[in-house]
């Protein structure tokens, strides 16, 4: 297992044939008339199970919109979003809520914990909302591995940024979700805490067989993943397998140099 330091990718990682999520000809438009913006423009991507995928692209390339769609937070204007075999497009609000609760784990930029609940209560939040009790052994193992066992009775305001993010990771992992989505999870952290968090996400995939998809701007963060999906103007601009910091930088620079696509 690789944790806080030296977050290199194990060489034996092979793509699972099973797809955790995919989008088919996904279009997402906002606004109407002259102010209409096409954030995603017929996007096809496939996220394999037990893989760590980064989504990268310039501001406005549609990476956050894609993440929202995959997490059941936003709906497609046209095309399909599939989580496993479930087509999210056909689901009503209650069903989408249940999907988020039972099948998606979230890690946000700044932890995003409820300020008045303790770390332990924040970890249990999703299961509590579903009226279920957490698996005690799994919870104990998780908080032990994440190094927050002695912080469970503390309020978020009493934790460091890195500790808050680890609580968020514990919350995401507790329910064994099909997909963990992370939105710039290291954005608000110093480099040491950021590195530790990336190691944690890496081990979610390697040790616990989770599927993680992460939006990031940071080539060093992308280098920890198994593959990078590059976006430009709401379309796929290529996939980079086994990325390193250098290859990522290179590809991003190359994409930026291309003339903009016409929507």
């Amino acid at each position: 297992m690789i944790l806080a330091d030296g977050h290199s990718r194990p060489s034996n990682t092979v793509p699972s044939s099973k797809l955790a999520a995919r989008t088919v000809d996904l279009v997402r438009e906002y606004g109407a008339g002259d102010s209409r913006v096409r954030a995603l423009d017929g996007l096809h991507i496939e996220l394999h199970s037990r893989r760590f995928t980064a989504i990268m692209g310039a501001s406005g390339s549609g990476k956050s919109t894609l993440l929202h769609c995959l997490a059941g937070l936003d709906r497609a204007t046209s095309g399909r979003i599939l989580l496993g075999e479930t087509d999210l497009g056909g689901l009503d609000d209650a069903a989408l809520t249940a999907i988020r609760r039972d099948r998606i784990g979230f890690v946000f930029q700044d932890g995003n914990l409820l300020p008045h609940l303790t770390a332990g209560e924040n970890i249990d939040l999703g299961l509590s909302l579903a009226g279920r009790r957490p698996d005690r052994a799994w919870r104990t193992e998780l908080v032990g591995r994440l190094g927050i066992a002695d912080r469970l009775r503390h309020l978020p305001s009493e934790l460091s940024g890195g500790q808050r993010q680890r609580v968020a990771v514990a919350r995401a992992l507790l329910g064994h979700p099909d997909l963990i989505v992370a939105d710039e999870p290291t954005g608000a952290l110093d480099s040491a805490s950021g590195g530790a968090l990336l190691g944690l996400l890496r081990s979610c995939v390697d040790d616990y067989g989770q599927t993680v998809v992460m939006v990031t701007h940071d080539p060093s963060a992308a280098a920890v993943t198994d593959e990078v999906v590059l976006l430009k103007d709401g379309r796929s601009a290529g996939i980079l397998n086994q990325p390193t910091r250098e290859t990522v930088l290179e590809r991003v620079a190359a994409i930026s140099a291309q003339p903009g696509a016409v929507a």
């Binding site: 993440l67 609760r101 995003n112 914990l113 209560e121």
Partner: protein
């Protein structure tokens, strides 16, 4: 379990915010609890005041007014001679000048048989019953005049020895019981009724004594009980109206507070949605938090109200106004708690609805939802139009009903006022936007004014909530001011038409009117004439009011009833003044709730706009400028509330006068102007704490990335 747990934790983590959110409800609950407790505790006194017929009375004879003491005594003797009669007591009443402990004051004296079933004196453990030449005093009366058993007091020149002191109803006055014999001897006391105990038949008594009114004791007690009940219903009805108005204001304020607080907590709600909370769970969360805040505010309010009522009742007990022990009325207090909780939950409904609509994406983006959002114009305009039309129709129906049924007319006018108020609540945000747009050309180059006007416009619902409750308070005050001015003018007009002289003596009230006129004519200071049923008395040219009074008293014999115009006028004006004071005390609660609303709303406005204030400060606005912009925002809401309140209240004051068949009189411009400016100044004072907070916002946080 997670919903109640999250709600309770949220309150525990932010007690100051919970306090602010529930302050208006706590205030209204304190008012409700104290007024209900006071009314319940005053009930016993009211019952005792109204139920003057002794329990043992079988038949009551009410002699005609013109009859003299001798005839009444004869009548009592005739009844006493009947075989069925057990006891007879004539009740004489009078306000008598009494000298006690070196001081002379007017006491309420009542005749009493001294013992037995028809006596008001508590059963004696030892000693003798009240005898002629003796007086029995109330406990407070004895304390105030510093006399004890065995002392002598002088009532209208007659010496009376204090035979006993005990619990008799005093109603805050100096009260003494004397024998019938002494009452007759004092002269100025009037025989009001004859109580008869025994196995009596009212018809037999009636046949015996002719033209007096004869009713059974039970009938009279039922009548008195009904009067007491009617009074109590009236008191509780009026209280309900005022408590209702205070609660309505609190609901408007708390509703606005909840909307603001939960729109600031949009990220938190969105996070809950992200991790799997359903819409219904979020709505329940808001409502549960509201219920907790309502319950806590209710407990605070009930405690304050109870303490206030207990204090006032203790004062009333020590002055003899009330004799019973303090009744805490636990059921009424529980009802107040339930009311506080329900009101808060109702106030939180719009916030709960909005929370249910929270978008989960907001948790992932930096976008911060604020109160500044569009209002549903069409729905509000339609609702306001329907309400306004209903208000006009109800008002017109009230005006028509005025000629036949005053109370129906007054009720319809009040209902019309409520409808118009709700209509104004509906279109409040648009009025605020329009008012702000109207003021925009006047903002000139002052940054503070421009910031204030644009904030009022942007958060029009919040500004409208402040203005609306202020409007309600000002409107009630204005209608009271206009109503009292009209009633005073009407009473003066009545006086002038019915009371064309300085004093009158009704011809029917004296045995020999001609002799009285002759006596008065002889005095050089008195100008006297007879007009129909009244002897009219005026000062002769060059005579002052004081000289006339002494001249009249010198000329007529003791006990001649003289009605002085100035006394009657003073009496009417005092009654109106008391009514006005009670009205203002009641209305002031609504006004205080409105002021709390201004304070809480502006405090939230500052909390929500911290970064914005910091940015403006960083760009060069002074600390004083930041404070000033808050004061201007308060003044803006208060001006709008006061203008609409004065117009709305004056209009309904006039309608109410019309409903009661009174003329309007001169408009009380001075009082209305005072109310207008007073409310604006009070609102700026209420903004003092938020102003201080706004001034303390550091410009540095405006530069920090969010």
């Amino acid at each position: 379990m997670i919903v109640p747990q999250t709600a309770v934790r949220s309150i525990r983590r932010r007690p100051k915010q919970a306090l602010m959110m529930g302050l208006a409800i706590a205030l209204a609950t304190a008012f409700a609890a104290s007024s209900i407790l006071i009314a319940i505790n005053a009930r016993a006194a009211l019952v005792a005041f109204g139920m003057t017929t002794p329990e043992a009375t079988d038949v009551v004879v009410v002699p005609p007014e013109s009859i003299d003491n001798e005839a009444v005594a004869h009548m009592a003797g005739q009844v006493a001679a009947l075989p069925e009669t057990d006891e007879v007591a004539v009740e004489y009443l009078g306000d008598v000048s009494v000298e006690a402990g070196g001081l002379t004051s007017t006491w309420k004296l009542t005749s009493d048989p001294g013992s037995g079933a028809l006596s008001a004196i508590p059963d004696l453990e030892e000693g003798d019953a009240l005898q002629a030449g003796e007086i029995y005093l109330g406990v407070s009366t004895a304390e105030r005049s510093g006399v004890s058993v065995g002392d002598t007091v002088v009532a209208a020149g007659r010496e009376l020895v204090v035979a006993g002191i005990g619990q008799i109803h005093e109603f805050g006055m100096d009260v003494g019981l004397i024998t019938e014999e002494d009452a007759v001897a004092i002269g100025s006391m009037t025989p009001v009724q004859i109580f008869i105990a025994g196995d009596m038949d009212p018809d037999a008594v009636s046949a015996l004594i002719g033209d007096s009114l004869v009713i059974s004791g039970e009938e009279q007690r039922t009548d008195q009980a009904r009067t007491v009940t009617d009074t109590l219903v009236g008191v509780f009805g009026a209280l309900t109206v005022f408590v209702g108005l205070a609660l309505l204001s609190a609901v408007v304020i708390v509703g606005s507070t909840f909307r603001t607080v939960f729109s600031r907590r949009a990220t938190e709600l969105a996070l809950l949605r992200c991790v799997g909370a359903g819409r219904a769970q979020l709505r329940r969360l808001v409502l549960f938090e509201a219920a907790c805040i309502g319950l806590l505010s209710g407990i605070v309010g009930v405690a304050v109200g109870w303490a206030l009522a207990a204090g006032l009742v203790a004062v009333a007990q020590s002055s003899g106004l009330l004799t019973d022990a303090f009744n805490s009325a636990p059921l009424a207090l529980v009802a107040c708690l339930v009311l506080a909780t329900l009101s808060t939950v109702v106030a939180a409904l719009p916030a709960a609805k909005a929370a249910g609509k929270a978008s989960p994406i907001a948790a992932l983006s930096a976008a911060r939802a604020t109160e500044a959002r569009s209002t549903r114009r069409a729905v509000r305009l339609v609702a306001a139009s329907v309400l306004a039309l209903s208000a006009v129709a109800t008002g017109a129906a009230g005006a028509i009903a005025a000629s036949t049924d005053e109370f129906l007319a007054l009720g319809l006018t009040a209902l019309s006022g409520v409808l118009l108020f709700v209509a104004l609540v509906c279109i409040g945000p648009f009025i605020v936007q329009w008012f702000a747009a109207l003021l925009r050309p006047l903002t000139g180059s002052s940054g503070a004014v421009r910031v204030a006007v644009s904030n009022a416009r942007r958060s029009s619902r919040r500004t409208a909530a402040m203005s609306t409750v202020l409007m309600l308070g000002v409107g009630l005050t204005a209608s009271l001011v206009v109503g009292v001015a009209g009633a005073t003018a009407d009473a003066r007009e009545d006086m002038e038409s019915n009371f064309s002289s300085a004093a009158i003596i009704p011809v029917d009230f004296v045995d020999d009117p001609d002799a009285v006129v002759d006596l008065l004519t002889e005095h050089p200071a008195v100008d006297v004439r007879v007009d129909g049923l009244d002897i009219l008395i005026d000062p002769a040219p060059g005579t002052g009011a004081v000289e006339l009074r002494s001249a009249v008293l010198e000329s007529v014999s003791d006990g001649t009833p003289v009605f002085w115009a100035s006394d009657v006028r003073a009496g009417i004006e005092q009654t109106l003044l008391i009514g006005q004071i009670i009205g203002i005390v009641m209305i002031s609660v609504t006004l205080i709730v409105a002021m709390v609303g201004v304070m809480v709303t502006l405090a939230l406005s500052v909390a929500e706009r911290r970064e914005e204030i910091a940015l403006i400060r960083a760009l060069g606005m002074t600390r004083a400028g930041a404070r000033r912009s808050l004061a201007i925002e308060a003044a803006l809401a208060a001006t709008l509330g006061s203008i609409t309140g004065v117009v709305f209240g004056s209009g309904y004051g006039l309608l109410a006068l019309n409903a009661l068949g009174m003329s309007a009189g001169a408009p009380p411009i001075g009082s209305l102007t005072a109310v207008f400016f007073g409310v604006i100044i009070a609102s700026i004072l209420a903004a003092a704490i938020p102003m201080r907070t706004a001034g303390r916002v550091s410009p540095a946080i405006g530069m920090a990335a969010r």
